[in-house]
Subunit: 167 residues, 2 copies
Amino acid sequence: MTNAIRILGLDPGLRRTGWGVVVCEGARLSHVGHGVIAPPVEAPLAERLLALYQGLREVIAAHAPHEAAVEETFVTANGASTLKLGHARAAAMIAPAAAGLPVAEYAAKVVKKAVVGTGRADKDQVAFMIARLLPTAGAASGDCADALAVAICHAHARRARRLERAA
Amino acid sequence: MTNAIRILGLDPGLRRTGWGVVVCEGARLSHVGHGVIAPPVEAPLAERLLALYQGLREVIAAHAPHEAAVEETFVTANGASTLKLGHARAAAMIAPAAAGLPVAEYAAKVVKKAVVGTGRADKDQVAFMIARLLPTAGAASGDCADALAVAICHAHARRARRLERAA
């Protein structure tokens, strides 16, 4: 019997939401797929959010992940962009929740630390490490690399919890 | 043939989301129903958002509105509460959008002006006017009165647009 778990990582944004699916079997990680959902920029807000939600439902139907993980949001001084991110993030969380998946949240620093080894890593370092950790992912750029990084972070965290429980 | 249009008004919040449905036939408005969806406070964020989304899907299935309207969000200096409101508001917008309803947005000032006559009205004044405008609504308190106010605001705005087009 295999204990393979498929994890969906999400990097939400109203213009571009990155997603990435990895499989973890014990300590082994492998790449399943990744992509970006970009709702029509000119559409009314409700339609953009629906496009994001529906796009993620399709990703979930296609890749059948068991669990999902999302970055915790950064609250910036710019209220308008915080609000936009909040909207996109909710759409990204409702989609897996509606499919019955548990949705974990990780701070950006925790994600970077899990993948690069430091919470201060920049986007290029994350993308570089994703290419190393998941060689079959090819060159997953920006949002996709971040989404895969969240999935890897969750894989590490759940493995750590299992080892703790076993100890 | 009747031109009755059912409008769903929404006052989103992560703890309490108010909803109200009115029917407008020309200049005549009547109350259909209202209520509050209060997701479990202790549940993880994704589950709270899902409860909100699913609760609104049930309201939409029960009352079959043709159009929906939501208050535009206030960006406050408190980033954390702006973010929470953004999350709740997205859940409240995806539900009617997924049911195929157009979702209009109105600034809080515009809603108050439509119902009370001034953009500076407080919650009590809004509730007072809702009781006047929709006598069969009974005493719709706080979030419900605000939701009914958004629905009435949309009824006025769409009627104004129709009259303009007819002129």
